[in-house]
């Protein structure tokens, strides 16, 4: 599905083999990526993975050491930042502290050449402030606004010039957790309403999964995987992605005819399908906690493709609609299982020290070779 999207003529932004080095430090390594018009794309990674540098290269604030960036058919290599059809919403917003909200929003419009008429600017600023519902605060200075209000002004400022590409650098990181969650969808709706193509950078996987159409996972300057939130979560292509996005149980072992033989699991772990991995190779198996079933009795006879092991409950995190159980297997290995609270019906759920069984079906394990 991704491949189809990339091959279609909708490649609005093409990043081709872009690298950036600072001295000997290769911060971004040979990143290639295409993004469709009106897509919301999230670059996801921990701090220092190169995602912000990649974004800054799109804005023209850094020059790529190698590679090309083509936006809507125009090679951006030689375009100065102040001439680029991109606008950025900076981390913690970088609002001009000495200007009012409306002057902040008007700043970019005032730079247009040929000059825009005064009332054209005022009308556009009014429209932008309407969009983010900040008309009432037009004459306030940034320090008189809350974090959420500042974020909306920053968004209005970066949308005012109708950029071809909107860049968001950790758009919600400066907000409190509660406001952040409320703002995520609000921000998506605004961006969709305006219909601007958007690339955001975030270290928060929940934010990326909530907001983005597609996600690119970066680590150590390398773009590891690109896909929809579902693809990235369900079919990670490497250990880093599997562990970075959500929680997982990771088993390491050697692939054999019966499955993956692991030191810390009683039987070889059955996986399916066993394609494109050679027998005898070192692999990892990732099993998401919600795929792990928990039961008091041994699960039905070891039918083909069911992995199970007995253990003891050592920790329970009760989270309302579900609980996360930490089960120590006889070998000492702990497996986490997230279990819906409704799973137990009227029976009492297992508690600390109870003997339980964990099990999962073969397709739940994703085999990773890197």
């Amino acid at each position: 599905m991704v491949a189809q999207q990339q091959d279609s003529g909708a490649a609005y932004l093409r990043i081709e083999g872009v690298s950036k080095r600072f001295g000997d430090n290769r911060v971004v390594r040979d990143v290639s990526l295409t993004i469709a018009r009106k897509e919301i794309f999230a670059l996801l990674g921990s701090s220092g993975c190169g995602k912000s540098t990649l974004l800054r290269m799109l804005a023209g604030l850094e020059t790529p050491s190698a590679g090309r960036i083509v936006l809507d058919g125009e090679d951006l290599a030689t375009v100065q930042p102040h001439h680029r059809p991109t606008n950025m919403m900076f981390q913690s917003y970088a609002l001009f502290p000495h200007l009012t909200v409306e002057d902040n929003v008007a700043f970019g419009l005032r730079q247009e050449r040929p000059k825009l008429a005064r009332d054209a600017i005022a009308a556009r600023v009014g429209k932008m402030l309407d969009l983010v519902q900040m008309q009432r605060y037009a004459r306030r200075k940034p320090h008189e606004l809350s974090g959420g209000q500042q974020q909306r002004v920053a968004l209005a400022r970066s949308l005012a010039k109708e950029p071809k590409l909107l860049l968001l650098d950790e758009p919600l990181a400066a907000l409190d957790k509660k406001i952040r969650q409320e703002t995520q969808l609000e921000l998506v709706h605004l961006i969709e309403r305006v219909g601007v193509t958007c690339i955001m950078v975030t270290h928060d996987q929940e934010e990326a999964m909530t907001m983005a159409d597609r996600i690119g996972v970066m680590s150590d300057g390398v773009l590891l995987q690109v896909g929809t939130p579902g693809e990235i979560y369900e079919h990670p292509n490497c250990r880093f992605t599997a562990e970075f996005i959500g929680e997982t149980n990771m088993f390491h072992g050697r692939l054999g005819p019966q499955g993956v033989a692991c030191a810390d699991f009683p039987a070889p772990i059955a996986v399916s399908p066993l394609a494109d991995h050679a027998d005898g190779s070192e692999v990892s198996v990732s099993v998401r906690p919600e795929r792990v079933l928990l039961s008091r009795e041994a699960p039905g006879a070891l039918e083909g493709g069911l992995n199970s092991a007995a253990g003891e409950v050592v920790d329970i995190a009760y989270l309302g609609s579900y609980s996360v159980y930490h089960v120590r297997l006889s070998g000492g290995r702990t497996v986490t299982a997230s279990v819906p609270s409704a799973r137990w019906g009227d029976a009492a759920p297992p508690t600390w020290g109870d003997a339980v069984w964990v099990s999962w079906k073969a397709p739940a394990g994703v085999v990773l070779s890197r």
Binding site: A59, H82, F107, Q111, H143, R157
Partner: protein, 314 residues
């Protein structure tokens, strides 16, 4: 909660008292003494004045007779302005002082801003070296540095600059570089430049780099970014630097005396002449009091405008 200690035993009280005591002892008290002298009558005695509050001549006790004649003389000078043959000695000195101090401040700002900007934008590792270089002249005596300028600017063939220009064949006869307003201005700009650079640097180094990137991202050219972001945000630094230069420059005495010769009458020299050769302490004190009053106005204006910006920079 422990019981609050009596305020006389609290460290905070004494720390707070220190600046107030300092101001009282070294500003307010001397100022009151000077005001007292300014309201006195000149006399051939030691000290050479009769204070407003003194023993009555007929021995009938203490009498309070403030003598306003010194203020009157300044008033007369103002009244006589525009009349033929008017010699407004003090007014001219005030005017010269304010003019030179203003020119010094403006020139220091024009020279100092690029200095401070460059240092603030330099790599962190060499910032301190550059700052040290700005402060380096302070390691030699101020007087010595003014004398060095006398050697540089000397109007005869001995002057180093004149030597150089004649040696290069640019001029034949030495230029009159010393003992004029230009020499005073040069010396003042040179001496006061660090006082402009340091507060400006302290302000510019805090400037959030991302604001400049944001301006550029929004389409502002480098010059526009400077004029519409950097400059307004460094306003408090400019004000602080201007005050550090302007206020001492108005009362500057040594530089006009050494580099200005007899030509350049400034208020500091008038005060010196009246306290010294003229033995007219009330007049000298009056001139000093009026100068302080003149300086209070710009200080209030400066303070107002920097306070109105308060809270803007996070």
């Amino acid at each position: 909660m422990s019981r609050r200690r009596p305020f006389l035993l609290r460290g905070r009280f004494w720390v707070g008292m220190l600046p107030w005591t300092w101001l009282l002892l070294f500003f307010l008290l001397p100022f009151v003494l000077i005001v007292n002298v300014s309201l006195s009558t000149p006399d051939l005695a030691i000290p050479p004045y009769i204070a407003p509050l003194h023993q009555a001549e007929d021995g009938s006790g203490v009498e309070l007779v403030p003598d306003l004649s010194s203020f009157q003389r300044l008033g007369d000078e103002i009244a006589a302005l525009g009349e033929d043959g008017a010699e407004p000695l003090y007014l001219r000195a005030y005017g010269n002082s304010l003019l030179l101090a203003t020119l010094t401040t403006v020139c220091c700002l024009l020279i100092g801003y690029p200095f401070a900007y460059h240092i603030a934008r330099a790599r962190e590792s060499i910032r301190n070296v550059l700052l040290m270089m700005v402060m380096l002249p302070f390691w030699t005596s101020f007087l010595l540095r003014v004398y060095a300028w006398m050697g540089l600017l000397d109007s005869s063939e001995v002057g180093l600059i004149n030597q150089l220009l004649i040696g290069l064949g640019i001029i034949d006869t030495p230029l009159p570089l010393l003992y004029n307003t230009g020499a005073v201005l040069t010396g003042m700009i040179y001496s006061y430049l660090p006082f402009m650079v340091l507060p400006l640097y302290a302000n510019l180094v805090k400037l959030d780099q991302r604001l400049l990137e944001a301006a550029s991202d929004l389409g502002a050219r480098p010059l526009t970014t400077f004029l519409s972001v950097t400059l307004p945000l460094s306003r408090n630094g400019i004000i602080a630097g201007a005050m550090m230069v302007f206020i001492p420059a108005v009362g500057e005495f040594v530089i006009p005396d050494l580099l200005g010769g007899g030509d350049v009458q400034m208020i500091g020299r008038n005060i010196w002449d009246d306290f010294g050769p003229n033995q007219d302490w009330p007049m000298a004190a009056t001139v000093a009091v009026v100068m302080v009053l003149l300086l209070i106005a710009p200080i209030i204006v400066f303070n107002r405008s920097s306070r109105s910006e308060a809270g803007e920079q996070p």
